[in-house]
Symmetry: C2
Subunit: 429 residues, 2 copies
């Protein structure tokens, strides 16, 4: 019978879930892992007197980080504080003293992965972070353990549950963003300060981690193009739907170009054809669609958040860490800078949904169309809608595949006196 002693940093929703899952599964874990016993010795919290969703004994709780970080009996530190600091400092202290880290903290990992991994490699400690991306969905393990014999050229995911919940309700109900957000906040499905979710930061952190593992090179957070859902309107969703598309906040990582080393990483609202596997991922579910040269297309779908789904991934990592003879790390150049073998581009190719409000007068459509033509942006579908009585019409274009920069140049050519750009949304197939 082997006992592993664990310390928690943080005990909120996820930490509480991990505590309860460890209690709940004590017998099965012993049975499934040759008598293994996992004992949580100390739990760092901000306020030891606060009421919690799990019954951590008072003597286990502490508000002094050193009670976890300097306890030589603790060999695994599981972190659920979130945020870059002080989490990163605590994790570095743990790793430097040889403690293995299991973390659900996408921000600390995305921003300071190089420091954390270097510290782990130096001391021989392990660094596990499946729970940092997509909760219970085993996407990181799939990339590293199941698909190492693949060249991955595409990752495309719905990896933020809050925005998917909001967009699903906007689509189903025809509601406006602000109304659904307010309701989601009331239901506890969006944070009081929703910026990290709705402005795409959360998805961008996760994409940083996923794409680094998929491309075997460090993709840094600042290289991810990011556009949130705050500008999405019920009109855009309705127009797209009428043309056969569903709007999703997608995180996309593509590898292409002539030598296969050109990389694009981007998070933005995206129209998908309604029959696309990701178009049907509704509510707070997460899903990742990937393509490898050997495996072909793989889609993983499941719960991306929540106490128990995240705890499922954390405890899975704790068990991998507790039973590992030797901890492994990605072998790519994990430095503060993006991997020099990856050539990032912000001039990707996509299709575009472009909605304009135009004066209803002869010649206007021709002049608008000319803006696209002059940049070699070819139109696949066009619709004109709206009441002529108001003197203005809606023009909706869906382009063939075109370069991002050419499309931006084209829309910047629109003469605002006759036609104003209402929205520009990328379309993926």
């Amino acid at each position: 019978m082997k006992e592993i002693v664990i310390g928690f940093l943080g005990c909120g929703n996820v930490g509480g879930g991990v505590w309860r899952l460890l209690e709940d599964m004590r017998e099965e874990i012993a049975h499934r892992f040759d008598g293994l016993s996992l004992r949580v010795k100390r739990v760092l919290v901000r306020d030891v007197n606060k009421t919690r969703s799990c019954d951590v004994p008072a003597e286990v709780l502490t508000d002094r980080p050193e009670d976890v970080l300097d306890d030589s009996e603790i060999s695994i530190v599981a972190e659920f504080m979130g945020g870059e600091q002080p989490a990163t400092d605590y994790l570095l202290r743990a790793l430097r003293s040889g403690k293995t880290v299991v973390t659900a903290n996408k921000v600390a990992l995305a921003l300071n992965w190089h420091l954390l991994q270097a510290a782990a490699e130096k001391s021989g400690a392990g660094l596990y972070y499946e729970a940092s991306v997509c909760g219970a969905v085993p996407i990181l393990q799939t990339l590293t353990e199941a698909l190492p014999a693949n060249r991955i050229d595409l990752l495309m995911g719905i990896i933020n549950g809050t925005t998917n919940y909001i967009l699903t309700r906007m689509s189903d109900e025809g509601s406006e963003y602000a109304d659904v957000l307010a309701d989601a906040q009331r239901l506890g499905l969006a944070e009081p300060n929703p910026a990290a979710d709705v402005e795409g930061m959360d998805a961008a952190y996760k994409l940083t981690i996923m794409s680094s593992l998929a491309f075997h090179g460090r993709v840094t957070y600042d290289r991810v193009y990011r556009e949130g859902i705050t500008g999405v309107t019920a009109t855009d969703i309705a127009c797209g739907s009428a043309m056969g598309y569903t709007l999703k906040l997608l995180a996309i990582a593509k590898r292409g170009g002539e030598d296969g080393r050109e990389i694009e990483v981007r998070v933005h609202p995206t129209f998908l054809p309604k029959n696309h596997p990701l178009a049907r991922v509704e509510g707070s579910f997460n899903a990742v669609y990937l393509r490898g040269h050997a495996c072909g297309e793989i889609t993983l779908q499941g719960r991306g958040a929540g106490d128990y789904p995240t705890a499922s991934a954390v405890v899975g990592d704790i068990l991998r860490a507790a039973t590992a003879e030797k901890h492994r790390h990605p072998t790519f150049r994990n430095t503060a800078e993006p991997d020099p073998s990856l050539h990032f581009t912000d001039d990707w190719r996509s299709r575009y949904f472009i909605r304009c409000s135009a004066v209803d007068a002869p010649g206007v459509l021709a002049r608008v169309a000319d803006c696209f033509a002059s940049e070699q942006v070819s139109i696949a579908t066009m619709r004109q809608e709206g009441a002529a009585a108001l003197g203005r019409v809606q023009l909706i274009f869906i382009t063939h595949e075109a370069g991002e920069k050419a499309v931006r140049r084209a829309v910047s050519r629109l003469d605002s006196a006759i036609c104003s750009l209402e929205s520009l949304i990328r379309v993926e197939e």
Copy 2:
């Protein structure tokens, strides 16, 4: 730089794919695994003179098993022969001499897992078999490595590509089974002898493996209830479709009952509501939907067969084996008999689609309905169709959830003089 020497048993479609993928990824593998080199030293084939899809040098090919099994330099044996024998004997010889086995052979594993694992445990060798179930879809690794902190109570999968291809085409085209099968054989998508696929054995072997890992106890092949698709008609598919259902060959493993130890494992044609995640899995794709008490619902989808998708899983396993410090095995009682802690039932509960051909006369429907009522089988939906001119009508019932045995007793009560049973198909939600 570490070199691992590998021997192949078999070099057909999958073996050829593995050879080509290893060649293709030589540089990346070295890069991704600290200079690791994988060298295939010998390849056992039946006929060394046959032309192959991969350029194995003549001096590597051999038709003598001992050239692989008795070569002390070879530390990993990768097997692609398929079938129970002689594969099992060869794998046992390899394992007993301490060689790690990587296999895509679901039959040998499902039938002789206990012997293979015992031999591996005794010699300290590894036994890897991700490729034996669902090709590139990492379902086994997900169960063992990602979800060990879960109680899995449901696995439901489309795990045979040939039958899914046939059923998809029957649904799309309204064609009969025999016609689509013949066409699939012509296209090389079904075997000349299709029994293993269309009679559900292939799916049952895979379910044996998956469910043993999910339930942490040996589920043996002979406990799997099995019904193939050979009796499925275009009429059933059309009737089901009109009522909102899609027909799939599902492999189902459920854990339930009062103490959570009652197990049902079954492979049979199944109607699913058209909006069920598995209903949309088309053509030769595989997908597995599972439910765990912590992770919630997870769906994995991808290519379940084909040279490169299967090779993706095989080479993934070779890399895991080559870099493992110590090989791990499931810790459940892996014996020739089913695990005594699992209580198998063949009286599961389901909903049922029942199609009858009845005499068109007063009182017939009442008498038919009475057969169900007398067994407490409650009808959810009923349709009557068909030309009264012919003197017979189609009666289609969909029941509420009912016990398998009660439904069978109910249909056995039908008076064949007035009503004959045409088909009985289970319906899952």
